[in-house]
């Protein structure tokens, strides 16, 4: 031991005097971080080679070891190329053994550079040379140091805004820039690569510059992180604020003795629910929904759904019925007031009233009014409701193709609503209204469902006492509802649906009825509509008849009413222009008011050439007379059919042709003509599609007339289906056809015998005017229609 006191600084540590620049050290490779000189680092050593290296270090006097980072953390037995070149000579300060590991506290002492590995087994031993840390100084270093310090302070603030660390206290004492770099690098736990670069820096300026850029990046990341955190926090606090405000509002309302609006609403609904008379099942369900409503905040989407539902349930007339006026006389009066003719329908209504009078629990019938447009089906519904003293609701089924429209949507869907039926009941506010379902023949059907099938349930008196609408999901009793459906034709109504209804035909009005209706209802209505009085305006009976015959062609009354309206408007214009003379419309005035006649009436052709026969056809707007024309085609072949014929009609005509050819001899026709010439049959008007078998006998008459060269009688129209053997089968639409023939002035009509019963439907007044010839076979038709053939056939017929 020596005690030198001379002023010259001596080497300050004994061991450093002879410390060699080169040495061999056991190697402890570490992962993911680098050890800087002057800094302590705890390590946990587990790899056998590393443990052996540590053992060897501990067995030495100085406990020195080389701590060096490996490039790739996943390598378990690194070789020289896996290690960085620069490491740190360290002294083991403390150690203790764990189960399979050695816990170390190492203190970095000096930077060293690995020259080569002396030994690789059982542990690495490296030959190293000391690489003293850079000591350069100057203004640049100083400036860099300061700005690094600023940046570090900022990073610390950002990293821990809650618990600020006094960076100054931690590093203020550190005056050597390189050690400052190392301290900061380890504090901010940079990546290994960055730490290693800092460790290897050859000048302080380099190290500071690198650290500055690393810290800059760190600050940016931290700022971004804080920004994200702040945004999240502010979003959260917005919601909290709202919640808080709501709570305060509630408290204020309580303080003021006000109930909160939601509770008030629930209470109101409960009160209304209590007042309504409804079935127990419904009340229970409504109570359940009300309880759910009470638990929901008003902002919940379900809240409004449930509220609307409850309001609906409350408003439905579960047990509210209107009292029926069951006075037959009164009802008859009402019906007669509203509608002329239509005896059958009125009778049926009165019968129903009679039944209801005797048995109030009787099931309401389901009527189906079938008839052409404008025959008063809808207004009849109104009258029925009025005569019975019931509410009237109507909606159209035309084009409806979604079952849900009828039965409602389930409540799970947004904007769900009850079906039309329940809506109609709610509007009626009674459970026994007259509900008219218009256009039942025009129901659609597609992939969304089949409303006709849904109607089956509605229109079945056995089932409809517990009709379940999808929206309500509660049984509603429809059995007291008086259902009336309307249709233009029965053909398109599904069978099962038709079966449930009582069909009442409104076949169209005859001329006399139309005149009467026009006189009683239409003209007064149009006068009122145009602001005229009965004194100012009149139509002569002849003019009215002409109007009906020449300006309209329909079974109903719509065109007639329009035409009358037009006349009345023109008259009104005259009065408005200052005229004061009353106007009476005469036949010759019509052309001024309405223009030329749009319909050349289907008047009887006075004289028919051979090959033409008058037939009768049924259309939705009533009957029509139709002249079938046949013509020979010299040099032609076969049969040509024109006039927009349907398949049934074509086949029917072919049957007629076959019959005529087969009976050529009987008719006195030379069969060779069939081989030489073709035949063309045309059904005017060519633009109107036609179908059905009822023109069979007419075609046969036309062909017989053509081949024999004898014209058919022009005053005899005919209709009937023909078979190959010459039988005449019944057809439909007799009344319309007869009325059409009569309009055209035809006074003899040939009908199948089986249709004789239909003549009863004809108005009394026209029956005597027309001669009906009821036939079983085609021969009888030919006899009746072609006078010349009658002579020839008479022996056969006799």
């Amino acid at each position: 031991m020596s005690l030198p006191t001379d002023p010259k600084p001596a080497p300050s540590a004994g061991a450093s005097d002879d410390a060699p620049l080169m040495m061999s050290l056991p190697v402890l490779p570490i992962k993911n971080t680098a050890l800087f000189p002057h800094l302590l680092m705890p390590l946990s050593v587990g790899r056998p080679a590393s443990i052996a290296a540590v053992e060897s270090a501990l067995a030495s006097e100085g406990k020195e070891i080389l701590v060096i980072a490996q490039r790739d953390a996943s390598i378990e037995s690194p070789v020289q190329s896996d290690l960085y070149t620069y490491g740190t000579k360290a002294v083991v300060r403390k150690m203790s053994r764990g189960e399979n590991t050695i816990e170390l506290l190492v203190l970095g002492v000096e930077r060293v550079m690995v020259l080569k590995l002396d030994q690789t087994d059982p542990y690495l031993v490296a030959r190293v040379r000391l690489a003293p840390l850079p000591e350069d100084t100057g203004t640049e270093v100083e400036a860099l140091t300061r700005s690094v310090m600023d940046l570090a302070a900022k990073a610390v603030d950002l990293a821990q805004p809650q618990a600020p660390v006094d960076l100054g206290q931690l590093i203020a004492g550190e005056q050597r820039p390189i050690r400052l770099v190392h301290l900061l690098a380890s504090m901010f736990s940079l990546d290994l690569e960055k730490e290693q670069t800092l460790l290897e820096a050859q000048t302080c300026a380099d190290a500071l510059r690198l650290l500055h850029s690393y810290l800059g990046h760190e600050v940016q990341v931290l700022e971004l992180r804080n920004k994200i955190a702040t945004e999240a926090r502010s979003e959260m606090s917005k919601e909290q604020r709202e919640y808080l405000l709501r709570q305060q509002m509630r408290a204020i309302q309580q303080e003021l003795g006000e109930r909160n609006p939601e509770q008030a609403e629930v209470d109101l609904l409960a009160e209304r629910l209590g007042k309504v008379d409804m079935p127990e099942e419904v009340r229970k369900e409504a109570g359940r929904e009300l309880a759910r409503l009470e638990r929901l905040p008003s902002a919940a989407p379900d809240y409004h759904v449930i509220r609307t539902y409850l309001e609906y349930v409350i408003e439905l007339p579960w047990r509210i019925s209107t009292a029926d006026h069951l006075e037959i006389a009164h009802a008859r009066q009402v019906l007669d007031e509203d509608h002329f003719a239509l005896k059958e329908v009125k009778q049926r209504i009165l019968e129903q009233l009679g039944v209801l009078k005797l048995n109030p629990k009787a099931k309401a019938p389901i009527l189906c009014f079938v008839g052409p447009p404008g025959t008063g089906k809808t207004s009849l519904g109104h009258s029925i409701a009025r005569s019975m003293g019931r509410k009237f609701e109507r909606f159209s089924l035309g084009g409806m193709h979604d079952e849900a429209e009828l039965r409602g949507h389930r409540r799970t869907y947004i904007g769900a609503m009850p079906g039309r039926l329940i809506q109609a009941i709610r509007r009626a506010a009674a459970n026994n209204p007259v509900i008219m379902l218009d256009e039942v023949d025009k129901l659609g059907r597609d992939f969304r469902g089949d409303p006709a099938s849904a109607l089956l349930e509605v229109l079945d008196p056995e089932q409809n006492n517990s009709f379940r609408d999808n929206y309500l999901d509660l049984p509603f009793d429809l059995s007291k509802v008086f259902f009336i459906t309307t249709a233009n034709t029965l053909d398109t109504i599904p069978r099962p649906l038709l079966d449930r209804m009582e069909v009442i035909r409104l076949p169209g009005y005859i001329e006399e009825e139309k005149i009467e209706i026009a006189r009683r209802y239409l003209i007064p209505r149009q006068l009122t509509g145009s602001g005229l009085t009965a004194e100012q305006f009149a139509i002569s009976p002849d003019a009215l008849q002409t109007l009906i015959r020449r300006y309209t062609r329909e079974a109903g009354l719509r065109r007639l009413e329009r035409a009358l309206g037009k006349v009345a408007r023109k008259a009104a214009l005259r009065f408005a222009e200052g005229s004061t003379e009353p106007i009476t419309i005469r036949v010759e005035d019509l052309i001024d008011y309405l223009g030329p006649e749009p319909f050349t009436p289907e008047e009887m052709r006075k004289k028919l050439p051979p090959g033409v026969a008058p037939g009768l056809a049924w259309t939705e707007s009533g009957g029509e007379v139709l002249y079938i024309e046949a013509s020979l085609l010299p040099e032609g072949k076969g049969l040509t059919l024109t006039g927009q014929l349907g398949e049934v009609m074509q086949e029917s005509v072919k049957a007629a042709q076959t019959y005529v050819w087969a009976h050529a001899a009987t008719l006195g026709v030379d069969p060779s003509v069939f081989a030489k010439t073709g035949v063309h049959i045309h059904f005017p008007a060519g633009a109107v599609p036609k179908d059905g078998p009822s023109a069979g006998i007419t075609a046969a008459v036309a062909l017989a007339s053509l081949y024999t060269g004898n014209p058919a009688r022009s005053d005899t129209a005919m209709t009937g289906e023909i078979t190959l053997t010459g039988l005449v089968l019944p057809i439909g639409g007799v009344k319309e056809k007869v009325l059409a023939a009569r309009r055209a002035g035809i006074r003899r009509i040939v009908l199948p015998r089986a249709n004789g019963k239909d003549l009863r439907d004809l108005p009394e007044e026209i029956r005597p005017e027309i001669e009906f010839i009821l036939v079983d076979r085609i021969e009888q038709v030919l006899e009746a229609a072609i006078p010349a053939v009658a002579e020839q056939l008479s022996p056969v017929a006799a």
Partner: protein, 118 residues
């Protein structure tokens, strides 16, 4: 690592002197005596020839190296808490050490340095 210690407040400053890094600092006691100062350094297991004491103006520096020489062949460490390798400890006293009389003594692993100023 050199430390200057002011007795009042005991504030330590890191040294900026370029010197080989040392592994540890021995604990130290300082006594005021009638005629000066008594400094005690705990340096158990350090060979006398490995201890260097150096006084310069007001600063007294003790440095050296503790070598682990008590190693039996075949034995291995189970736990280690005693720091080895180089050490250094410096203390600044409110008197000119170069003018004072210094006495050093080693007793049971404790280095005693007596500073006599009067």
């Amino acid at each position: 690592m050199k430390e200057r210690s002011r007795i009042v407040g005991l504030i330590y400053y890191a040294s900026s002197q370029a010197a080989p890094a040392t592994a540890w600092r021995p604990p130290m006691d300082i006594y005021r005596t009638k005629n000066g100062w008594l400094l005690k350094f705990e340096l158990a297991g350090v060979e006398l020839e490995d201890i260097h004491v150096y006084a310069h103006e007001r600063t007294l520096t003790v440095s050296g190296v503790r070598r682990d020489t008590v190693l039996e062949p075949g034995a291995s460490y189970y736990s280690m808490e005693i720091p080895y390798n180089r050490f250094e400890r410096a203390v600044e006293l409110p008197c000119d050490l170069e003018a004072a009389h210094l006495e050093a003594e080693c007793r049971n692993g404790i280095l005693l340095i007596r500073v006599i100023t009067e």
